[in-house]
């Protein structure tokens, strides 16, 4: 066996270029398969970890997925706002433990600005029971104070006391100059610690701050020159909050949650909807599931192509090795040994390919993890293969061994005489 192994190894080394190309193609397809699996699992965990202990998300009636995406993941926009009056009504409902209001729609250099209250810093939970902490400073105390998510502070190199201007709208890149709320700059009062959730990529001001920057706007247009209300004349007490975009809500009991959800969904004063975040996430995964399945099929085909490539290279190499096989038989290797040799060769190739795939996926996730997190807010963990990943590795290895029987069978059928009599 050891002899066979060393023979197989030497034979593979003898055809180094073909061998390494075969290993590379299997390794690449393996890395693709494991990568897709890692991203899938990472995305689910990362999304599920973003919001904890929130029973309901409430917003204007519309798509439930949309409500979840803009409220929690800052993806997309609300088509309608809800009145502050309705928010107060539900906030003061006896079944409600706490609420966190969000007012969305403004941005700062591509990062979203969120109007909220002290409740956000007090009650928001992620990764089961972790709460927001400040790396520096504290929550906004005045109308023109702003707190930065850690990514915002890092990307724009801001520190406490810096003055920044927010823009109307959430288009990526710099806000349109016309839309700048340049006359009312905000002062950085705090910077949050990293949470590895979308919280890191937003700026937070008070609800009154959102009202203040729009105080002199009329019908969604900036004020005419000379009609601006200077920031110095704006005090928190005079700011009236009229609407918010959505709010998170925690009930005192789980049973009350379901009753409250129905109450909100059938509220007659305003068309609102309440969703259970975990339930809506599950709907999201089911929707994405189809695309995931398609991707899975594609990667399986890529693996298949890789394995076929291995088969082709082993099979064609047999022509060059007719004499080698014949000599092996002459010196006493039985058909079983010949078969074992070729199966070992293909098994070794598959094993090397799998190892390369694992190494590549570790390396790639290590390199791309920060980029993916920055760009998509997706925390893909660098971790050993998932159970499904191990299954794929095992299956490829097994397929590699099985494929070895094809050239082995051919070599076995080529008689001793064949290799010795024909000029090769």
């Amino acid at each position: 066996m050891i002899v066979l192994l060393s023979l197989a190894w030497k034979s593979l080394r003898n055809r180094l270029l073909t061998t390494s190309l075969t290993v590379l193609s299997i390794g690449l397809s393996m890395a693709l398969l494991l990568g897709v699996e890692n991203v899938r699992v990472g995305a689910r965990e990362s999304f599920a970890n973003t919001i904890s202990q929130t029973d309901l998300i409430v917003g204007a009636r519309g798509g439930s997925l949309q409500l979840l995406l803009y409220s929690v993941f800052r993806i997309g926009q609300a088509t309608n706002n809800i009145s502050y009056e309705s928010y107060q009504h539900w906030k003061n409902h006896p079944a409600v433990a706490w609420t966190i209001p969000y007012s969305l729609g403004d941005s700062h250099r591509g990062f979203r600005v969120v109007g909220t209250t002290e409740d956000f810093y007090q009650h928001l939970r992620f990764r089961r029971d972790r709460r927001l902490e400040f790396a520096a400073g504290r929550s906004p105390q005045g109308v023109f104070d702003v707190v930065l998510g850690s990514d915002v502070a890092a990307a724009l190199n801001y520190k406490l006391g810096d003055k920044i201007v927010i823009s109307h709208g959430v288009a990526a890149g710099r806000g349109i100059a016309d839309n700048d709320h340049a006359d009312k700059p905000f002062t950085v009062s705090g910077i949050l610690k990293k949470t590895a959730t979308p919280v890191d990529r937003s700026l937070y001001i008070q609800l009154e701050g959102i009202s203040a920057v729009h105080i002199d706007w009329a019908d969604g247009a900036p004020p005419m020159p000379g009609e601006e209300v200077p920031a110095s004349k704006i005090a928190k007490e005079n700011m009236k909050v009229e609407q918010i975009t959505s709010f998170l809500l925690r009930c005192k009991t789980r049973i009350a949650t379901l009753q409250l959800q129905r109450e909100i969904n059938t509220y007659r004063e305003e068309a609102m909807q309440a969703i259970i975040p975990g339930v809506t996430l599950q709907e999201l995964w089911r929707t994405i599931g189809y695309a995931e399945d398609a991707l899975q099929v594609v990667t399986l085909f890529v693996i298949l192509v890789g394995l076929l490539g291995m088969l082709v290279s082993l099979y064609t190499s047999l022509n060059e090795r007719r004499r080698e096989m014949a000599i092996l038989r002459v010196i006493g290797a039985g058909p079983g040994k010949i078969i074992a040799l070729l199966v070992l060769e293909s098994g070794l190739l598959a094993l090397a390919g799998c190892l390369l795939g694992v190494v590549m996926i570790y390396g790639l996730s290590f390199i791309f993890q920060p980029i993916v997190e920055q760009q998509f807010g997706l925390y893909v963990p660098v971790q050993p293969p998932t159970p499904a990943g191990w299954l794929y590795l095992g299956a490829v290895l097994l397929a590699g061994i099985l494929i070895g029987f094809v050239p082995a069978w051919k070599a076995y059928r080529n008689t001793l005489a064949d290799g010795l009599s024909i000029r090769v």
């Binding site: 202990q53 049973i255 379901l258 007659r268 975990g278 339930v279 709907e283």
Partner: protein, 171 residues
């Protein structure tokens, strides 16, 4: 002139009438029911609630307000069946018991819904156990049930078609 006055009054009456009646309508699909399950905890002796919202047609066989004695008898019998056999429709882990809290019929416009609430109590932990369903056996007209469950920190959803599928309570 008086004709205009009359027209004006009628128009005003129509506006007032429309204003008084909210025009929002809930989705209503025959054969499609909603089930909510909530448990405060999944350890110790969990206490919870289970509520079913179903088109009346699927349970009573009709959707109008029961006015004739025949309809009333039919409705009473169906609701009694619902109360008595709810444990066969929503099969909670062993050791859990449900008692009816409220079972009523809401008629709204041309549609009616049966709304049933049950209290649930379990003798032991339910973490890691499953909940299965048997609606079709009791009310064959219930074809699809959208199940939402809150259990401790778990939030889950399941579409149950023809009683297929189980809900796994997280460990």
């Amino acid at each position: 002139m008086s004709r205009f006055a009359l027209f004006g009054t009628l128009a005003l009456a129509a506006v007032v009438h429309l204003g008084a009646q909210p025009r929002a309508h809930k989705a209503h699909e025959h054969g499609h029911a909603k089930l909510n399950i909530a448990f405060e905890t999944t350890t110790g002796t969990p206490v919870g609630a289970v509520e079913l919202e179903s088109p009346a047609d699927s349970i009573l066989g009709f959707e109008h307000a029961a006015k004739t004695p025949a309809d009333k008898a039919k409705q009473e019998k169906a609701l009694a069946t619902l109360k008595a056999r709810f444990g066969e429709m929503v099969i909670l882990p062993a050791g859990c018991k449900m008692t009816p809290a409220k079972v009523e019929v809401h008629v709204e416009g041309q549609h009616a819904e049966v709304h049933a609430e049950f209290n649930a109590k379990c003798a032991g932990p339910i973490a890691g156990k499953t909940i299965s369903f048997g609606f079709a056996k009791v009310f064959p007209k219930i074809e699809e049930v959208e199940v939402q469950m809150l259990a401790g920190t778990q939030q889950a959803k399941l579409e149950v078609e023809k009683d297929k599928g189980t809900l796994q309570i997280a460990k």
